[in-house]
Protein backbone atom coordinates (compact mmCIF):
# COMPACT_ATOMS: atom_id res chain seq x y z
CA UNK A 1 0.00 0.00 0.00
CA UNK A 2 1.37 3.35 -1.05
CA UNK A 3 1.91 5.87 1.73
CA UNK A 4 -0.38 8.89 1.31
CA UNK A 5 1.81 11.80 0.37
CA UNK A 6 1.07 15.50 0.59
CA UNK A 7 2.62 18.86 -0.18
CA UNK A 8 3.77 21.20 2.59
CA UNK A 9 1.59 23.89 1.03
CA UNK A 10 -0.57 24.12 -2.07
CA UNK A 11 0.84 24.96 -5.49
CA UNK A 12 -1.07 26.49 -8.41
CA UNK A 13 -0.39 26.88 -12.12
CA UNK A 14 -1.11 30.45 -13.27
CA UNK A 15 0.51 30.66 -16.69
CA UNK A 16 1.60 28.44 -19.58
CA UNK A 17 3.14 28.83 -23.01
CA UNK A 18 4.84 26.80 -25.69
CA UNK A 19 6.43 27.14 -29.09
CA UNK A 20 4.88 25.19 -31.89
CA UNK A 21 6.65 21.82 -31.97
CA UNK A 22 8.22 21.29 -35.40
CA UNK A 23 11.53 20.87 -37.21
CA UNK A 24 13.18 24.30 -37.31
CA UNK A 25 16.26 24.71 -39.50
CA UNK A 26 16.48 28.42 -38.59
CA UNK A 27 15.62 28.47 -34.87
CA UNK A 28 17.60 27.21 -31.92
CA UNK A 29 16.76 26.30 -28.33
CA UNK A 30 16.93 29.92 -27.16
CA UNK A 31 14.65 31.19 -29.94
CA UNK A 32 12.06 28.53 -29.17
CA UNK A 33 12.30 29.13 -25.43
CA UNK A 34 11.77 32.86 -25.96
CA UNK A 35 8.56 32.08 -27.89
CA UNK A 36 7.32 29.83 -25.10
CA UNK A 37 8.23 32.40 -22.45
CA UNK A 38 6.45 35.24 -24.25
CA UNK A 39 3.32 33.16 -24.69
CA UNK A 40 3.44 32.18 -21.02
CA UNK A 41 3.70 35.84 -20.00
CA UNK A 42 0.68 36.81 -22.07
CA UNK A 43 -1.29 33.89 -20.60
CA UNK A 44 -1.02 35.24 -17.04
CA UNK A 45 -4.43 36.93 -16.73
CA UNK A 46 -3.37 39.67 -14.31
CA UNK A 47 0.17 39.96 -15.65
CA UNK A 48 3.57 38.80 -14.51
CA UNK A 49 6.54 40.94 -13.61
CA UNK A 50 9.36 38.60 -14.74
CA UNK A 51 11.65 39.93 -11.98
CA UNK A 52 9.28 38.34 -9.47
CA UNK A 53 10.23 34.83 -10.57
CA UNK A 54 12.33 33.26 -7.78
CA UNK A 55 13.89 30.33 -9.64
CA UNK A 56 13.95 28.41 -12.89
CA UNK A 57 13.92 24.67 -13.65
CA UNK A 58 14.68 23.54 -17.20
CA UNK A 59 14.15 19.99 -18.43
CA UNK A 60 16.42 18.87 -21.23
CA UNK A 61 17.67 15.50 -22.35
CA UNK A 62 19.95 15.44 -25.38
CA UNK A 63 21.24 18.95 -26.04
CA UNK A 64 24.64 17.98 -24.65
CA UNK A 65 24.88 15.29 -27.32
CA UNK A 66 23.27 17.19 -30.19
CA UNK A 67 24.37 20.77 -29.49
CA UNK A 68 27.54 20.00 -27.47
CA UNK A 69 26.17 22.09 -24.64
CA UNK A 70 24.70 20.70 -21.45
CA UNK A 71 24.55 23.63 -19.08
CA UNK A 72 21.10 24.90 -20.00
CA UNK A 73 20.04 26.33 -16.65
CA UNK A 74 22.13 29.52 -16.86
CA UNK A 75 21.73 29.86 -20.64
CA UNK A 76 17.96 30.03 -20.31
CA UNK A 77 18.10 32.09 -17.14
CA UNK A 78 20.23 34.68 -18.97
CA UNK A 79 17.95 34.56 -22.02
CA UNK A 80 14.87 35.58 -20.03
CA UNK A 81 16.65 38.01 -17.71
CA UNK A 82 16.53 35.92 -14.55
CA UNK A 83 20.28 35.72 -13.92
CA UNK A 84 21.67 35.73 -11.21
CA UNK A 85 18.71 33.82 -9.78
CA UNK A 86 18.99 30.03 -9.41
CA UNK A 87 18.52 27.92 -12.53
CA UNK A 88 18.62 24.13 -12.51
CA UNK A 89 18.53 21.62 -15.33
CA UNK A 90 16.60 18.39 -14.78
CA UNK A 91 17.24 15.21 -16.74
CA UNK A 92 14.92 12.23 -16.97
CA UNK A 93 15.22 11.33 -20.66
CA UNK A 94 11.87 12.09 -22.35
CA UNK A 95 10.37 12.88 -18.93
CA UNK A 96 12.92 15.65 -18.24
CA UNK A 97 10.44 18.53 -18.00
CA UNK A 98 7.90 16.60 -15.91
CA UNK A 99 10.77 16.37 -13.44
CA UNK A 100 11.32 20.14 -13.75
CA UNK A 101 7.62 20.57 -12.93
CA UNK A 102 7.96 18.32 -9.88
CA UNK A 103 11.06 20.14 -8.63
CA UNK A 104 9.22 23.43 -9.02
CA UNK A 105 6.28 22.09 -7.06
CA UNK A 106 8.57 20.86 -4.27
CA UNK A 107 10.46 24.17 -4.16
CA UNK A 108 7.22 26.07 -3.56
CA UNK A 109 5.60 23.43 -1.32
CA UNK A 110 8.66 23.54 0.93
CA UNK A 111 8.07 27.25 1.48
CA UNK A 112 11.46 28.21 0.05
CA UNK A 113 10.19 29.91 -3.13
CA UNK A 114 6.84 31.47 -4.04
CA UNK A 115 7.07 31.91 -7.83
CA UNK A 116 8.89 29.40 -10.01
CA UNK A 117 9.19 28.95 -13.76
CA UNK A 118 9.25 25.29 -14.83
CA UNK A 119 10.11 24.44 -18.39
CA UNK A 120 11.63 22.18 -20.98
CA UNK A 121 13.49 22.61 -24.25
CA UNK A 122 14.94 20.32 -26.89
CA UNK A 123 16.64 20.82 -30.23
CA UNK A 124 16.87 17.60 -32.25
CA UNK A 125 16.20 18.19 -35.93
CA UNK A 126 19.52 19.64 -36.99
CA UNK A 127 21.18 16.22 -36.86
CA UNK A 128 20.72 13.34 -39.30
CA UNK A 129 18.20 10.71 -38.20
CA UNK A 130 20.92 8.15 -37.45
CA UNK A 131 22.54 10.58 -35.01
CA UNK A 132 19.21 11.41 -33.39
CA UNK A 133 18.60 7.70 -32.90
CA UNK A 134 22.05 7.37 -31.36
CA UNK A 135 21.38 10.34 -29.09
CA UNK A 136 18.06 9.00 -27.90
CA UNK A 137 19.75 5.67 -27.22
CA UNK A 138 21.50 7.48 -24.35
CA UNK A 139 18.31 6.63 -22.47
CA UNK A 140 18.18 2.98 -23.47
CA UNK A 141 18.62 0.00 -21.18
CA UNK A 142 22.21 -1.11 -21.95
CA UNK A 143 21.34 -4.83 -22.06
CA UNK A 144 18.75 -4.05 -24.75
CA UNK A 145 20.76 -1.73 -26.99
CA UNK A 146 23.64 -4.24 -26.81
CA UNK A 147 21.58 -6.84 -28.72
CA UNK A 148 20.26 -4.38 -31.29
CA UNK A 149 17.06 -3.11 -29.67
CA UNK A 150 16.07 0.41 -30.68
CA UNK A 151 13.28 2.43 -29.01
CA UNK A 152 10.69 1.43 -31.62
CA UNK A 153 12.09 -2.09 -31.25
CA UNK A 154 11.42 -2.23 -27.51
CA UNK A 155 7.83 -1.07 -28.05
CA UNK A 156 7.58 -3.54 -30.93
CA UNK A 157 8.59 -6.37 -28.59
CA UNK A 158 6.09 -5.16 -26.00
CA UNK A 159 3.45 -5.20 -28.73
CA UNK A 160 4.18 -8.81 -29.71
CA UNK A 161 3.56 -9.91 -26.12
CA UNK A 162 0.44 -7.70 -25.87
CA UNK A 163 -0.91 -9.12 -29.14
CA UNK A 164 -0.26 -12.71 -28.00
CA UNK A 165 -1.81 -12.18 -24.57
CA UNK A 166 -4.90 -10.18 -25.48
CA UNK A 167 -5.59 -10.81 -29.17
CA UNK A 168 -4.89 -7.28 -30.39
CA UNK A 169 -3.48 -6.73 -33.89
CA UNK A 170 -1.82 -4.00 -35.94
CA UNK A 171 -5.30 -2.93 -36.96
CA UNK A 172 -5.97 -1.91 -33.34
CA UNK A 173 -2.79 0.16 -33.18
CA UNK A 174 -3.97 2.01 -36.28
CA UNK A 175 -7.03 3.15 -34.35
CA UNK A 176 -4.71 4.96 -31.95
CA UNK A 177 -2.85 6.67 -34.80
CA UNK A 178 -6.03 7.71 -36.61
CA UNK A 179 -7.45 9.23 -33.42
CA UNK A 180 -4.24 11.15 -32.74
CA UNK A 181 -4.29 12.63 -36.22
CA UNK A 182 -7.99 13.54 -35.96
CA UNK A 183 -7.26 15.47 -32.75
CA UNK A 184 -4.09 17.09 -34.11
CA UNK A 185 -6.08 18.39 -37.09
CA UNK A 186 -7.75 20.69 -34.55
CA UNK A 187 -4.51 21.78 -32.87
CA UNK A 188 -2.69 24.64 -34.63
CA UNK A 189 0.39 23.97 -32.46
CA UNK A 190 0.71 20.37 -33.71
CA UNK A 191 3.65 19.38 -35.90
CA UNK A 192 1.30 17.26 -38.03
CA UNK A 193 -1.99 19.09 -37.75
CA UNK A 194 -3.68 16.95 -40.37
CA UNK A 195 -5.64 13.73 -40.57
CA UNK A 196 -4.41 10.55 -42.23
CA UNK A 197 -6.87 11.35 -45.06
CA UNK A 198 -5.19 14.75 -45.52
CA UNK A 199 -1.80 13.03 -45.75
CA UNK A 200 -3.16 10.48 -48.24
CA UNK A 201 -4.50 13.29 -50.44
CA UNK A 202 -1.12 15.02 -50.33
CA UNK A 203 0.58 11.78 -51.34
CA UNK A 204 -1.84 11.26 -54.24
CA UNK A 205 -1.31 14.85 -55.44
CA UNK A 206 2.43 14.40 -55.30
CA UNK A 207 2.23 11.17 -57.34
CA UNK A 208 0.04 12.90 -59.96
CA UNK A 209 2.40 15.84 -60.24
CA UNK A 210 5.43 13.61 -60.64
CA UNK A 211 3.65 11.31 -63.08
CA UNK A 212 4.12 8.35 -60.74
CA UNK A 213 1.54 5.57 -60.24
CA UNK A 214 -1.32 7.08 -58.22
CA UNK A 215 -2.14 5.05 -55.08
CA UNK A 216 -5.74 3.92 -54.71
CA UNK A 217 -6.72 3.53 -51.10
CA UNK A 218 -10.35 3.07 -50.13
CA UNK A 219 -9.86 4.35 -46.59
CA UNK A 220 -7.28 5.42 -44.00
CA UNK A 221 -6.58 1.89 -42.83
CA UNK A 222 -5.87 0.67 -46.33
CA UNK A 223 -3.22 3.38 -46.62
CA UNK A 224 -1.78 2.42 -43.24
CA UNK A 225 -1.54 -1.22 -44.37
CA UNK A 226 0.36 -0.10 -47.50
CA UNK A 227 4.13 -0.34 -46.83
CA UNK A 228 4.79 2.38 -49.43
CA UNK A 229 2.76 4.81 -47.30
CA UNK A 230 3.62 3.28 -43.94
CA UNK A 231 6.91 1.32 -43.94
CA UNK A 232 8.05 -0.98 -41.15
CA UNK A 233 10.39 0.52 -38.57
CA UNK A 234 10.50 -2.31 -36.02
CA UNK A 235 7.81 -4.95 -36.26
CA UNK A 236 5.02 -4.38 -35.44
CA UNK A 237 5.84 -0.65 -35.18
CA UNK A 238 5.48 1.09 -38.52
CA UNK A 239 6.24 4.71 -39.42
CA UNK A 240 2.76 5.88 -38.38
CA UNK A 241 3.11 4.18 -35.00
CA UNK A 242 6.10 6.42 -34.19
CA UNK A 243 6.35 10.02 -33.03
CA UNK A 244 8.46 12.42 -35.13
CA UNK A 245 11.75 14.21 -34.44
CA UNK A 246 10.96 17.70 -33.15
CA UNK A 247 12.32 20.93 -31.76
CA UNK A 248 10.38 22.90 -29.18
CA UNK A 249 10.08 24.59 -25.82
CA UNK A 250 7.37 24.85 -23.20
CA UNK A 251 7.04 26.54 -19.82
CA UNK A 252 4.61 26.99 -16.95
CA UNK A 253 4.43 29.43 -14.09
CA UNK A 254 3.93 27.87 -10.66
CA UNK A 255 3.07 29.91 -7.58
CA UNK A 256 2.11 29.28 -3.97
CA UNK A 257 -1.66 28.74 -3.82
CA UNK A 258 -2.14 31.61 -1.38
CA UNK A 259 -0.85 34.16 -3.91
CA UNK A 260 -2.45 32.62 -7.02
CA UNK A 261 -5.23 35.24 -7.02
CA UNK A 262 -2.61 37.93 -7.69
CA UNK A 263 -2.07 36.33 -11.10
CA UNK A 264 -5.43 34.96 -12.18
CA UNK A 265 -8.94 34.20 -11.00
CA UNK A 266 -8.75 30.93 -12.88
CA UNK A 267 -5.69 29.02 -11.56
CA UNK A 268 -5.21 25.27 -11.73
CA UNK A 269 -4.27 23.41 -8.58
CA UNK A 270 -1.61 20.70 -8.44
CA UNK A 271 -3.56 18.00 -6.62
CA UNK A 272 -1.50 14.93 -7.49
CA UNK A 273 2.08 14.28 -8.49
CA UNK A 274 3.84 10.95 -8.74
CA UNK A 275 7.00 9.47 -10.13
CA UNK A 276 8.46 5.99 -10.54
CA UNK A 277 11.52 4.21 -11.87
CA UNK A 278 11.65 1.04 -13.91
CA UNK A 279 13.89 -1.65 -15.29
CA UNK A 280 14.60 -3.27 -18.61
CA UNK A 281 12.42 -5.86 -20.31
CA UNK A 282 14.46 -8.73 -18.86
CA UNK A 283 14.01 -7.62 -15.27
CA UNK A 284 10.51 -6.09 -15.36
CA UNK A 285 7.67 -8.05 -13.75
CA UNK A 286 5.59 -7.67 -16.93
CA UNK A 287 6.29 -6.78 -20.56
CA UNK A 288 2.87 -5.15 -20.99
CA UNK A 289 2.93 -2.79 -18.01
CA UNK A 290 5.47 -0.31 -16.65
CA UNK A 291 6.10 -0.61 -12.93
CA UNK A 292 7.29 3.03 -12.98
CA UNK A 293 3.84 4.03 -14.28
CA UNK A 294 2.08 2.12 -11.54
CA UNK A 295 4.23 3.71 -8.85
CA UNK A 296 3.75 7.19 -10.30
CA UNK A 297 -0.01 6.68 -10.55
CA UNK A 298 -0.23 5.30 -7.01
CA UNK A 299 1.62 8.35 -5.66
CA UNK A 300 -0.53 10.78 -7.61
CA UNK A 301 -3.85 9.09 -6.83
CA UNK A 302 -2.81 8.66 -3.19
CA UNK A 303 -1.94 12.34 -2.81
CA UNK A 304 -5.14 13.52 -4.51
CA UNK A 305 -7.46 10.99 -2.88
CA UNK A 306 -8.82 10.30 -6.36
CA UNK A 307 -9.33 7.10 -8.33
CA UNK A 308 -8.88 6.62 -12.09
CA UNK A 309 -12.64 7.15 -12.53
CA UNK A 310 -12.29 10.73 -11.30
CA UNK A 311 -9.88 11.70 -14.08
CA UNK A 312 -11.93 13.25 -16.89
CA UNK A 313 -9.26 13.22 -19.62
CA UNK A 314 -5.53 12.67 -19.95
CA UNK A 315 -2.47 13.30 -22.03
CA UNK A 316 -0.29 10.17 -22.09
CA UNK A 317 3.16 9.54 -23.52
CA UNK A 318 2.41 7.97 -26.92
CA UNK A 319 5.99 7.93 -28.24
CA UNK A 320 4.64 4.85 -30.03
CA UNK A 321 1.02 3.83 -30.57
CA UNK A 322 1.62 0.75 -28.42
CA UNK A 323 2.73 2.93 -25.51
CA UNK A 324 -0.65 4.71 -25.41
CA UNK A 325 -2.42 1.38 -24.78
CA UNK A 326 -0.02 0.46 -21.96
CA UNK A 327 -0.42 3.86 -20.29
CA UNK A 328 -4.22 4.01 -20.34
CA UNK A 329 -4.24 0.58 -18.71
CA UNK A 330 -1.42 1.31 -16.20
CA UNK A 331 -3.19 4.47 -15.06
CA UNK A 332 -6.33 2.44 -14.48
CA UNK A 333 -8.58 4.14 -17.05
CA UNK A 334 -9.18 0.72 -18.60
CA UNK A 335 -8.60 -2.82 -17.35
CA UNK A 336 -5.32 -4.51 -18.30
CA UNK A 337 -5.61 -5.98 -21.79
CA UNK A 338 -8.68 -3.96 -22.78
CA UNK A 339 -7.15 -0.65 -23.84
CA UNK A 340 -7.15 -1.63 -27.51
CA UNK A 341 -10.88 -2.39 -27.35
CA UNK A 342 -11.58 0.92 -25.61
CA UNK A 343 -9.82 2.77 -28.43
CA UNK A 344 -11.65 0.69 -31.06
CA UNK A 345 -14.99 1.54 -29.46
CA UNK A 346 -14.13 5.25 -29.58
CA UNK A 347 -14.06 5.65 -25.80
CA UNK A 348 -10.84 7.69 -25.97
CA UNK A 349 -11.96 10.03 -28.74
CA UNK A 350 -12.35 13.76 -28.18
CA UNK A 351 -16.11 13.26 -27.82
CA UNK A 352 -15.81 9.96 -25.95
CA UNK A 353 -16.19 9.36 -22.20
CA UNK A 354 -12.40 9.34 -21.61
CA UNK A 355 -10.60 11.58 -24.13
CA UNK A 356 -6.91 10.69 -24.49
CA UNK A 357 -4.32 12.92 -26.15
CA UNK A 358 -6.68 15.63 -27.35
CA UNK A 359 -3.58 17.59 -28.41
CA UNK A 360 -2.74 14.91 -30.98
CA UNK A 361 -0.24 13.37 -28.57
CA UNK A 362 3.46 13.01 -29.17
CA UNK A 363 2.64 11.27 -32.45
CA UNK A 364 1.19 14.40 -34.01
CA UNK A 365 1.85 17.34 -31.70
CA UNK A 366 5.55 16.45 -31.85
CA UNK A 367 8.07 15.20 -29.31
CA UNK A 368 10.95 17.58 -28.52
CA UNK A 369 11.79 15.20 -25.72
CA UNK A 370 12.80 17.59 -22.94
CA UNK A 371 9.81 19.88 -23.62
CA UNK A 372 7.20 17.14 -23.85
CA UNK A 373 6.28 16.79 -20.17
CA UNK A 374 5.35 20.46 -19.82
CA UNK A 375 3.82 20.37 -23.31
CA UNK A 376 1.41 17.70 -22.12
CA UNK A 377 0.50 19.72 -19.02
CA UNK A 378 -0.18 22.75 -21.25
CA UNK A 379 -2.88 20.72 -23.02
CA UNK A 380 -4.40 19.93 -19.62
CA UNK A 381 -4.21 23.65 -18.77
CA UNK A 382 -5.94 24.65 -22.01
CA UNK A 383 -8.69 22.07 -21.69
CA UNK A 384 -9.42 22.84 -18.02
CA UNK A 385 -9.56 26.59 -18.69
CA UNK A 386 -11.80 26.11 -21.71
CA UNK A 387 -9.16 27.52 -24.05
CA UNK A 388 -8.64 24.50 -26.33
CA UNK A 389 -10.55 26.02 -29.25
CA UNK A 390 -11.84 23.57 -31.83
CA UNK A 391 -10.58 20.60 -29.85
CA UNK A 392 -12.23 21.65 -26.57
CA UNK A 393 -13.58 18.51 -24.90
CA UNK A 394 -17.39 18.69 -25.09
CA UNK A 395 -17.97 17.80 -21.45
CA UNK A 396 -19.87 19.80 -18.89
CA UNK A 397 -17.94 20.70 -15.76
CA UNK A 398 -14.49 19.71 -16.98
CA UNK A 399 -12.38 20.16 -13.86
CA UNK A 400 -9.82 17.33 -13.45
CA UNK A 401 -7.21 16.25 -15.99
CA UNK A 402 -3.98 14.29 -15.86
CA UNK A 403 -0.72 14.00 -17.77
CA UNK A 404 1.57 10.97 -17.84
CA UNK A 405 5.14 11.35 -19.06
CA UNK A 406 7.63 8.55 -19.77
CA UNK A 407 11.41 8.57 -20.04
CA UNK A 408 13.44 5.90 -21.78
CA UNK A 409 11.50 2.67 -22.12
CA UNK A 410 9.74 3.10 -18.80
CA UNK A 411 12.84 3.97 -16.76
CA UNK A 412 11.22 7.16 -15.51
CA UNK A 413 7.47 7.78 -15.40
CA UNK A 414 5.48 10.63 -13.90
CA UNK A 415 1.79 11.29 -13.37
CA UNK A 416 0.49 14.79 -12.64
CA UNK A 417 -3.13 15.66 -11.83
CA UNK A 418 -4.41 19.23 -12.15
CA UNK A 419 -7.74 20.59 -10.93
CA UNK A 420 -9.80 23.67 -11.70
CA UNK A 421 -11.87 24.65 -8.67
Amino acid sequence: MQKKRKLGRGVAVVGAGMSKFAMYPDKDSKDLFAEAFNEMRSSVDKGLEPNDIDALYVGNFTNDFFMHQGHWGPIISDLIGLAPKPATRTEGACAASALAFREGVFAIASGFYDIVLVSGVEEMSKRPTAEVTEGLALASVPYESRVGFTFPGVFGAIATDYFAKYGATRDHLMNVTIKSHNNARLNPKAQFNMTISDLMKARIERAKKKGEPVPEWKDEKEALWDPRFNPQVAWPMYLYDCCPISDGAACMLLVAEEIAKNFTDNPLHVIGIGQGSGRGLHAAPSLTSFEANKNAAAEAYGMSGLTPKDIQFAEVHDCFSMAELIHIEDLGFFEEGTGFKAVEEGLTRLDGPMPINTSGGLKCKGHPVGATGIGQLIEVWKQLRGEAGERQIPKKDLHIGAAQNLGGTGGTCTVTILERR
Partner: protein, 138 residues
Protein backbone atom coordinates in the same frame (compact mmCIF):
# COMPACT_ATOMS: atom_id res chain seq x y z
CA UNK B 1 35.87 -18.51 -11.92
CA UNK B 2 34.68 -17.87 -8.37
CA UNK B 3 36.94 -14.84 -8.15
CA UNK B 4 35.24 -12.94 -10.94
CA UNK B 5 33.17 -9.98 -9.72
CA UNK B 6 29.42 -10.27 -10.36
CA UNK B 7 29.39 -7.56 -12.98
CA UNK B 8 28.44 -6.77 -16.57
CA UNK B 9 32.13 -6.96 -17.52
CA UNK B 10 32.34 -10.52 -16.19
CA UNK B 11 29.08 -11.40 -17.98
CA UNK B 12 30.58 -10.22 -21.27
CA UNK B 13 33.84 -12.08 -20.62
CA UNK B 14 31.89 -15.30 -20.06
CA UNK B 15 30.00 -14.72 -23.33
CA UNK B 16 33.41 -14.64 -25.05
CA UNK B 17 33.91 -18.17 -23.64
CA UNK B 18 30.51 -19.34 -24.93
CA UNK B 19 29.07 -19.31 -21.43
CA UNK B 20 25.78 -17.70 -20.41
CA UNK B 21 26.27 -16.98 -16.73
CA UNK B 22 24.11 -15.58 -13.95
CA UNK B 23 24.47 -15.00 -10.23
CA UNK B 24 22.50 -16.74 -7.51
CA UNK B 25 22.00 -15.30 -4.04
CA UNK B 26 23.44 -17.70 -1.46
CA UNK B 27 20.96 -16.46 1.13
CA UNK B 28 17.62 -16.58 -0.69
CA UNK B 29 18.42 -18.45 -3.91
CA UNK B 30 17.24 -15.69 -6.30
CA UNK B 31 18.75 -15.98 -9.78
CA UNK B 32 19.91 -13.00 -11.86
CA UNK B 33 20.97 -13.01 -15.51
CA UNK B 34 22.97 -10.85 -16.24
CA UNK B 35 24.50 -11.15 -12.77
CA UNK B 36 23.88 -8.73 -9.92
CA UNK B 37 26.25 -8.22 -7.01
CA UNK B 38 23.46 -7.08 -4.69
CA UNK B 39 20.43 -9.35 -4.31
CA UNK B 40 17.40 -7.16 -4.95
CA UNK B 41 15.12 -9.73 -3.29
CA UNK B 42 16.78 -10.01 0.14
CA UNK B 43 19.72 -7.55 -0.09
CA UNK B 44 22.14 -10.42 0.44
CA UNK B 45 25.59 -9.73 -0.94
CA UNK B 46 26.94 -13.32 -1.08
CA UNK B 47 26.54 -14.54 -4.65
CA UNK B 48 27.65 -17.57 -6.62
CA UNK B 49 28.04 -18.07 -10.36
CA UNK B 50 25.58 -20.33 -12.16
CA UNK B 51 25.87 -21.40 -15.78
CA UNK B 52 22.64 -21.45 -17.80
CA UNK B 53 21.91 -24.41 -20.05
CA UNK B 54 21.12 -22.04 -22.90
CA UNK B 55 17.61 -23.35 -23.51
CA UNK B 56 14.57 -21.14 -23.52
CA UNK B 57 11.43 -19.84 -25.19
CA UNK B 58 10.76 -16.66 -27.14
CA UNK B 59 8.84 -14.27 -24.84
CA UNK B 60 8.71 -11.21 -27.14
CA UNK B 61 10.50 -9.98 -30.24
CA UNK B 62 10.82 -7.27 -32.82
CA UNK B 63 12.14 -7.20 -36.37
CA UNK B 64 14.14 -4.04 -36.87
CA UNK B 65 14.39 -2.35 -40.27
CA UNK B 66 16.24 0.74 -39.07
CA UNK B 67 18.98 -0.25 -36.65
CA UNK B 68 21.88 1.42 -34.85
CA UNK B 69 25.17 1.91 -36.74
CA UNK B 70 26.80 -1.28 -35.38
CA UNK B 71 23.98 -3.42 -36.76
CA UNK B 72 23.94 -1.59 -40.09
CA UNK B 73 27.67 -2.32 -40.34
CA UNK B 74 26.82 -6.03 -40.09
CA UNK B 75 24.77 -5.62 -43.25
CA UNK B 76 21.29 -5.23 -41.78
CA UNK B 77 18.90 -2.74 -43.38
CA UNK B 78 15.33 -2.32 -44.57
CA UNK B 79 15.69 -5.20 -47.03
CA UNK B 80 17.52 -7.39 -44.54
CA UNK B 81 16.03 -6.63 -41.12
CA UNK B 82 17.19 -8.38 -37.96
CA UNK B 83 15.38 -9.80 -34.97
CA UNK B 84 15.97 -8.88 -31.32
CA UNK B 85 14.03 -10.58 -28.58
CA UNK B 86 13.40 -11.42 -24.97
CA UNK B 87 13.98 -15.06 -24.03
CA UNK B 88 12.58 -16.94 -21.04
CA UNK B 89 15.34 -19.30 -19.91
CA UNK B 90 14.53 -22.77 -18.56
CA UNK B 91 16.12 -21.73 -15.27
CA UNK B 92 13.47 -19.04 -14.83
CA UNK B 93 15.43 -15.88 -15.68
CA UNK B 94 14.77 -13.72 -18.72
CA UNK B 95 17.44 -12.30 -21.07
CA UNK B 96 17.63 -9.92 -24.03
CA UNK B 97 19.27 -11.45 -27.09
CA UNK B 98 19.57 -11.35 -30.83
CA UNK B 99 17.37 -13.97 -32.47
CA UNK B 100 18.87 -15.74 -35.46
CA UNK B 101 17.55 -18.22 -37.97
CA UNK B 102 14.06 -16.80 -38.48
CA UNK B 103 12.53 -15.40 -41.65
CA UNK B 104 12.70 -11.72 -40.78
CA UNK B 105 11.01 -10.74 -44.04
CA UNK B 106 7.81 -12.33 -42.67
CA UNK B 107 7.66 -11.17 -39.04
CA UNK B 108 3.95 -11.98 -38.88
CA UNK B 109 4.86 -15.68 -39.11
CA UNK B 110 7.16 -15.61 -36.04
CA UNK B 111 5.45 -17.14 -33.01
CA UNK B 112 5.98 -16.30 -29.37
CA UNK B 113 6.77 -19.37 -27.30
CA UNK B 114 8.95 -21.18 -29.85
CA UNK B 115 11.82 -23.17 -28.23
CA UNK B 116 15.27 -21.62 -28.62
CA UNK B 117 18.91 -22.54 -28.04
CA UNK B 118 21.69 -20.11 -27.22
CA UNK B 119 24.48 -19.33 -29.62
CA UNK B 120 27.39 -16.97 -29.21
CA UNK B 121 28.20 -14.57 -32.02
CA UNK B 122 31.87 -13.62 -31.82
CA UNK B 123 33.09 -10.45 -33.48
CA UNK B 124 36.74 -9.42 -33.61
CA UNK B 125 39.65 -11.34 -32.18
CA UNK B 126 41.91 -11.50 -29.14
CA UNK B 127 41.69 -8.49 -26.82
CA UNK B 128 39.17 -6.88 -29.14
CA UNK B 129 36.80 -9.85 -29.21
CA UNK B 130 33.22 -9.06 -28.35
CA UNK B 131 30.35 -11.53 -28.24
CA UNK B 132 26.65 -11.04 -28.82
CA UNK B 133 24.26 -13.38 -27.06
CA UNK B 134 21.90 -14.86 -29.61
CA UNK B 135 19.31 -17.62 -29.75
CA UNK B 136 18.11 -19.71 -32.65
CA UNK B 137 15.17 -22.09 -32.99
CA UNK B 138 15.95 -25.46 -31.33
Amino acid sequence: MEAKPFSDISYEQFLNEDKLMGSRCKKCGALFVPPRSICIKCYGSEMEWVEMKGKGKLAAFTVISIGPPFMMEEGYDRKNPYCSGVVDLEEGARVDARIEGLDTTKPETIRIGIPLTAQFLHRGEGEKMTTFLAFKPS
